[in-house]
Amino acid sequence: MVSQPDCRAAYLRDIQSKTRGVSGYFSNYIPEEIIAAVGFHPLRIIGRYETSSHHGQSLYTPVCSFARDIFAAAESGALSFVSNVIFPNSCDSLKVLQQMWESNLTLPPIYVLLHPIQVDDHSVRYFAQQIKKLADILRNDSGLSFTDSQLADRIQHYNQTRQLLRKLYASPDGKPPFLKGSDRIALVTAGMIMDRDEYNQILQQIMTEGLSAGSAERQAHRRIMVIGPLVDNLELLETIEQCGASIVADDVTNGSRYFGLDVDLEGNLYENMAKRYLRSGPSPTINSDVHDDERFFRRRVTDLNPDGIIFINQKFCEPHVHNYLAKLEILKQMKVNALMLEVEHDRAAVSERDLLRIESFIEMLGEG
């Protein structure tokens, strides 16, 4: 339920009263553990927490629809319940959003975590320093300090989530996962909003019940992988499934890209977090080796053997357009069909055009 945009606000109102405040953040490169350790509730800013008809200044259109949607929400006061917001050092659209926020909105205050894009020992050390710096700022904000063992305890909770989600996505004994692809993404999304302890309990319960219930994948259906940034349009995912496909895997921000690797609990925790966040897998905004990325992607597609791949891109999302173009070259060589859907972040309904394109694509795969 929490993954549904309409239900988020009610859930968050309740959370606010139980914590020192809500700390909003963007991107999978912000360590949630740190936010939780200082007593804030980490909330992934996805959009649409409160509906609003306010139309103020807008970001220029080449900025992606996600950033434009969030700015409109922030400007209208729909994010006023958030105590602070943490920006990553990510794509240019988020940089524009950050600078517009700094310049136009006095509240909530924002912080920038300068995470590096390199993935090597130097960048891990630099990132560890930046995480520590962020922790100090948040500590000042919340007035709550924490010891290393308290931080380790928080990390453990987040590691537990990652382990449970990896199990949920895995195929035990070669059998397909017991949850539909759209439900898996909805479940990961809910985790980005919910209280972590409550979420882990629910995940555990779903795992126990689901493993005994069996697979959700229907044999006759076309096997689809979806790729994209944050996909907050669950209706679109459900439409793909209703058109006769099973989403057997994903590579989206609020899907499998969220839970790779655990944070090591031995040694320097800041360095361990830096390692975990930088080394969790390829991402369009990180400078991993081009050839390693290609090998990784080929192996994944080969192992998965999908009938087709659907790229779901937010309009004007530059990193993911480049990712699509790069992957398309590989998929052509591998003779795997691909479809690119370009969606506006703030539009929940599936357009007639997209519906037709999905239907035709899946029909075409059926003929293959």
Binding site: Q57, L59, Y60, T61, P62, V63, N89, S90, C91, D92, S93, K95, V96, Q99, M100, E102, S103, N104, V112, L114, H115, P116, I117, Q118, D120, H122, S123, Y126, Q129, Q130, P284, T285, N287, V290, E294, F316, C317, E318, P319, V321, H322, L325, A326, E329
Partner: protein
């Protein structure tokens, strides 16, 4: 100098010298000190746009459908691979690619795609932010330079010549200072040089910063400009063009401005004047200079810097180019206009592109100018 630069690049290829494609704010001093011939695909895209080739080349790229999403420089670069009538016979093939993210995130994405398509080694330098007051950031960047040196050595066998590096940095420092002085002839009222003429002189600071040739060029230009007769009258309306020029237009700005106004300054050309700190090691000086590009700075600094230019150059109005190709450059437009409003300086936005004329409309420009003209008249 322009023709010579491209001819010498072609010659370098014939002689088997290692060639690198680099992005605009790559620390070229290190690469030259390792014997690399450095070419700038962005600069070549400007050549293509100014030669009226954009439309055909973007079509040739096969990526026209993504012209809303991708930077037009990158579209022109991909188009060059399939287009036959290239200006100056095109760029020689590179042996390696070196990109940075200190101007935008696009260059990294573009070069990654290029590296994959052509199977060419790629090195990316990460500049998370302007590093002036952050020793940890300078350290992170200089460590990357060490890895860069190893990367280049691994592909060419060439060592870093540290005395050439020091000379290059010293020359860059002097040339950047001189380039700034060239603009400053327009601080006086009336102005001496139209901004589009300064744009015409941009090429050496982009591709030859660090060389004696570039320094000599600007030295001569400054003498020439200092003796040029005044170009307008003391009561002329003086405008600042904020952001990228429109390379496909003959004067790089819409001609509709010509009749009544004088664009005497384009801040984009000043972006190329980097600040190399004194009393730092060579690598630290490069880290500080190249992390502190205009587009990598905080919003407060960017807005204050443009406000300073307005005061220093006695600017009456500002035209902001909303350039579809550069998201990073869009960040400061609304905050800047807010500041201009506080300063009672009229401003107008024009939505277009730096190199793709399909996003340009003369009609739209005329309409925008009409209301701007009214605001300027009441000054």
């Amino acid at each position: 100098m322009f023709t010579e630069y491209y001819h010498s690049a072609a010659q370098a290829q014939k002689e088997g010298k290692p060639i690198a494609y680099i992005t605009a704010f790559t620390p070229v001093e290190i690469l030259r000190a390792m014997g690399l011939v450095c070419l700038y695909p962005e600069s070549y895209a400007v050549v293509c746009a100014a030669s009226n080739k954009s439309t055909d080349m973007i079509q040739a790229s096969g990526m026209e459908a993504f012209s809303q999403d991708l930077c037009s420089y990158s579209l022109l670069s991909f188009g060059a691979e399939h287009y036959e009538k290239l200006p100056l016979q095109g760029l020689p093939q590179p042996d390696m690619l070196i990109a940075t993210n200190n101007q935008c995130g696009t260059t990294m994405l573009w070069f990654k795609l290029l590296a994959q398509k052509r199977n060419i080694p790629l090195f990316i330098i990460d500049y998370p932010a302007a590093a002036n007051d952050q020793p940890s950031l300078v350290n992170y960047i200089t460590l990357q330079y060490k890895v860069l040196v190893d990367f280049v050595k691994g592909h060419t066998g060439n060592d870093l010549n540290t005395s050439v590096l020091s000379e290059q940095i010293e020359q860059s420092k002097k040339t950047c200072h001189l380039w700034k002085s060239v603009h400053e002839v327009n601080k006086a009222r009336p102005a001496r040089i139209e901004a589009h003429k300064i744009i015409d002189a941009l090429f050496p600071i982009v591709v030859a910063k660090g060389t004696q040739q570039a320094y000599d060029y600007y030295d001569a230009l400054l003498s020439e400009y200092s003796q040029t007769a005044e170009q307008d009258t003391a009561d002329a309306v003086r405008l600042l063009w904020h952001g990228y020029p429109m390379w496909f237009l003959p004067k790089k700005f819409p001609h509709s401005f010509d009749d009544e106004f004088h664009i005497i300054l384009n801040d984009y050309t000043l972006w190329w004047s980097l600040n190399y700190p004194e009393d730092s090691s060579d690598m630290e000086a490069l880290a500080a200079a190249y992390s502190d590009t205009y587009l990598n700075r905080s919003i407060q600094r960017k807005v204050e810097e443009v406000a300073d230019l307005i005061a220093d150059y006695s600017i009456d109005g500002v035209i902001c180019h909303v350039n579809r190709s550069c998201r990073r450059a869009l960040a400061d437009i609304n905050p800047l206009r807010k500041k201009l409003h506080q300063l009672s300086i009229p401003s107008v936005t024009i939505e277009s592109d730096m190199a793709n004329p399909s996003f340009y409309s003369d009609e739209q420009v005329k309409l925008r100018i009409e209301s701007f003209r009214d605001a300027l008249r009441v000054l």
